[in-house]
Amino acid sequence: MPTKTVMDSDSVNRTISRIVNQILERNNGARDLAIIGIRTRGVYIAGRIAGEIERIEGIKPPLGTLDITLYRDDLRHKAEWPKVKKTEIPFPVEDKKVILVDDVIYTGRTIRAAIDEIMDYGRPSSIQLVALIDRGLRELPIQPDYVGSKLDTLSSEEVRVRLKEADGTDEVNLVTG
């Protein structure tokens, strides 16, 4: 299968640093920020963002993990249901500025589910969305606030994000065919 490398390890790191700076600029620092990553790879990016914020601002924002399986809108159409994993939000989201993190934004349905789930935990003052890759082809009116890289893709193509924490290396590939 033809594979094109869209980001290598350096550019993944530079992109995350840039996003962190944009987050801090837009929110005037790290006050009231909370970072929530969507399973699986959003969690690793969220962890890096939280670490980077701590390095720059000296405050580590609370970090949470979201498993959106129970909120999916396609359960009844799926042949195989995903294994449910744990959501862990060990802090009150009430009045927090939640930075929601995913690796790839595609149809927007995952983000819809994630927003619904966060709302069940309380009422954050805002939710801002980070996506390392925006591959277009949205089916819902949802847009990220911070984007690493925008790709024009076909639905037949696949965007593969590999991260050190899970895959041993940082890399984004576009697989065609």
Binding site: Y71, A79, E80, K83, D120
Partner: protein, 309 residues
Amino acid sequence: MAFERKHILGLEELTAEEITLILDTTESMKEVSERDVKKVPALRGVTVCNLFFEPSTRTRSSFEIAEKRLSADVLNFTTSQSSVVKGESLLDTARNLEAMGASMIVIRHPMSGAPWLLAKKLDSSIINAGDGSHEHPSQGLLDLFTIRQLKGRIEGLRVVIVGDILHSRVARSNIWGFMKLGAEVRVVGPPTLVPKYIENIGVKSFYSLDKAVEGADVVIMLRIQKERQDSEYFPSLREYSRFYGLTREKLRCAAGDVTVMHPGPINRGVELSSDIADGPGSVILEQVSNGIAVRMAMFYLVASARSSG
């Protein structure tokens, strides 16, 4: 591994992998019960019917809460208020509920095997909430879950089940569940209430409580089912209690961190003395709250198997 069963009827027919998947899924479901808004949309649009032919508060309420936390529509059906008293057969009753749109039926029935009959004849998914003196899989699973959470493992533990083994569906489900996950299972009770050939399935049987609890990590007390004692199995409750009631004294030979379980409702002073029921090793209330999460996991997995055909 994907769960491929449309029904959960008993632990005897589940594999160790399937049981482990249910317990893992339960971990995730438990978190939902700890939130402010204890509800997720996973089973929206699914109608679940609770069909109870025997009185039950705990199990029925626990199933109902589990269904509601997954956003299913719930239909409760108890025999005292139904056409069953007019002579309708079990199958006809269940078919009618299915015609009303129920796609999952939770059944408790005094006849062993009743859930299997429904599973064979209906399209709905059947979940056994206790059939006669046969199986009570959700109770077995929640006991396994509670112990796994507490001790970090099931394998290698010494588990003692005490009391009316003959009539107890909780005992049967626990025997299968704990054995499949690698525990050593002992049963103990008066000779009239311990089935004669039970050692053939791989458990050790005892008539002396002191001997049975030696080195035990878990002691599961069964309720003396007064409603099932149609003939005399022991001379008096007082005598039963002296020989098989659990007291601090009798627990002394067990492991230091022994856990005491009881499926409820407790006959205080008969199976358990109050200092044990309310004591540090008792997880009886923990069992009740874990029961909801276990049942949510059962629904989720059965629904997933249904949708994959």
